[in-house]
């Protein structure tokens, strides 16, 4: 892709508000990650 078309490509990005399903994906992923961090961290310390 040339410089110009890259710039055009990036300029073309329109406004796409976060959908509820994306918020859910981010929330669940982060929430599960943090909860598992505590659980797996404790287990690995005990092991």
């Amino acid at each position: 892709m040339t410089d110009k078309t890259l710039q055009e490509e990036l300029n073309k990005i329109g406004s796409e508000p976060l959908l509820p399903i994306e918020k859910k994906l981010i929330g669940w992923s982060l929430g599960t990650g943090l909860v598992l961090l505590v659980i797996l961290g404790v287990i690995s310390r005990l092991g």
Partner: protein
């Protein structure tokens, strides 16, 4: 049976890496029965007299001499990789010419890196070579020299870099190296099975964390604060947070992004990986030499692309061991690299699963496909990096041989696998040089690229590196490699 009915193998870099890696491993095994098939390959020792730097990896072939060994090694690699090029439908003659230059420059870098003033580590080594100073880079500093050579050519001699492009295949080289690495790691692990299994479990835990926390935060940053569309944000989040090129392409494909999007993200991934490789191993040596496996896991989580991460793990292994040795602690080599490779392999395994999850969400909720068309579970297998099967196979076979063979076989196992590992080092080297050649820093200043660079830099240096460090510390702090007397 008609010709049309015979299914043709579709050769990909992934499949070729699997076959080539297994071939090297298989050729090393007859040495257990006294048939040394790989001992003629070239190896480089730390030198002060250039004439004595090259030699054969096995004493059986010592009479061959270093330069002929180098020539035979080049010819063997040229033969196997030219076949690979044919499988990939590349112009074989052009590939062979380009590979000749790539091999020559990369091996020259390795040879220079083994010069005693660069590589000698301990005062005893310096005394042995009759020198009073050394940069103490270890001979793996040759990787960095190869990377710098590649960067120089890519950024100062771009027309020459263009001529080499057919043989610039870091993903192919590192995947072959990882298949071979399985055997080497099994030899290392066999003596300390408890530590090795502990490391595997901690590696899985670290990866689950990295996926869940990294991806969601980077996706949120790209979408909410930088205004990227979903089509750009998914490959960006995957490239920055998971495993660079492969993840950007797999997840981009899963949400049906246009191919150009993950390709552009991938070019950024490589450039930033180079910056990380040039900096992080020395940071790890400075701050984590007392916690070597934290350093190993951290590099696996922080450095994107398999090639850069595993290779950085190799350098860090040498640097930390050298520093520890200077302090009187002699760790067994290979454990830092083993930790980085374990983390990276688990990351690769999870790419297919994550792509499947995203594909399912996108198909059902964001861009629904026509009724009846659903993301298929078989896509997880299709996206599964097959070279990992080779890594698992070489690891399992070597471990079984180490645990259940008669003592006279076990005694020969380390030197035999060492001959295969010698090729792993050469493939690492080709990877480093190739990564350098692909890193055109001018891209960062390309008009329109600034926003991509900004989200990448902010996420990587402001979040991913630090969270990776915390996760590595939580799971690997206090787990030390075994020491040797």
């Amino acid at each position: 049976m008609s010709e049309a009915a015979i299914p043709r193998v579709k050769w990909t870099e992934d499949l070729i890496a699997l076959v080539a890696g297994l071939l090297v491993f298989a050729l090393a095994l007859p040495n257990l029965a006294g048939f040394d098939l790989l001992g003629w390959a070239v190896t480089t020792s730390v030198w002060t007299d250039a004439g004595k730097g090259l030699g054969t990896v096995s004493k059986t072939y010592a009479d061959l001499g270093g330069v002929p060994a180098l020539l035979f090694t080049y010819l063997a690699l040229l033969g196997v990789l030219s076949l690979a090029a044919k499988g990939l439908r590349l112009p074989v003659v052009k590939f062979a010419a380009a590979f000749t230059a790539v091999f020559a420059i990369a091996y020259a870098a390795w040879f220079i890196g083994s010069f005693a003033h660069l590589a000698a580590v301990t005062p005893a080594d310096q005394k042995k070579f009759g020198i009073d100073w050394s940069l103490k880079l270890t001979n793996e500093g040759g990787y960095i020299i190869a990377l710098l050579f590649g960067l120089f050519i890519a950024n100062v001699l771009p027309s020459f870099a263009e001529k080499l492009k057919d043989a610039v295949r870091p993903e192919l080289y590192i995947k072959i190296a990882i298949v071979i690495l399985g055997g080497f790691l099994a030899v290392t692990a066999a003596g300390k099975l408890n530590l090795a299994s502990n490391l595997l479990l901690r590696g899985v835990a670290a990866i689950i964390e990295a996926y869940l926390i990294y991806w969601s935060v980077v996706y949120l940053i790209a979408r909410k604060y930088f205004g990227f569309s979903r089509e750009w944000s998914v490959p960006l989040a995957s490239g920055i947070s998971i495993c660079g090129v492969a993840a950007a392409i797999a997840t981009g494909g899963a949400i049906r992004a246009r191919p150009v999007v993950p390709v552009l993200v991938s070019s950024l991934v490589v450039v930033f990986a180079v910056i990380e490789v040039l900096v992080l191993p020395w940071v790890a040596q400075t701050f984590f030499s007392s916690d070597p496996l934290v350093a190993g896991a951290w590099l696996g989580l922080a450095v994107k692309t398999d090639g850069a991460a595993v290779a950085a793990g190799g350098i860090t292994d040498s640097l930390i061991l050298a520093k520890a040795a200077a302090d009187g602690v002699n760790y067994q080599p290979g454990w830092v690299l083993a930790t980085t490779a374990t983390v990276k392999v688990f990351i690769d395994i999870f790419i297919g699963i994550w792509a499947f999850i995203l594909g399912t969400i996108w198909t059902n909720y964001i861009t629904p496909k026509p009724a009846g068309e659903r993301t298929r579970l078989v896509e997880v297998w299709e996206r599964f990096p097959k070279f990992i099967l080779g890594f698992v196979a070489t690891f399992a076979i070597t471990l079984l041989l180490a645990l259940y063979s008669p003592p006279q076989i076990v005694q020969k196992l380390a030197p035999s696998i060492g001959e295969a590992n010698n090729f792993r080092v050469i493939f690492f080297l080709l990877t480093f040089f190739s990564i350098g050649l692909l890193s055109n820093f001018k891209k960062l200043w390309q008009e329109g690229f600034a926003k991509l660079v900004a989200v990448y830099a902010l996420s990587l240096f402001g979040f991913v590196i630090w969270v990776g460090l915390v996760i590595s510390w939580i799971f690997f702090h206090g787990v030390l490699p075994p020491t040797v007397s």
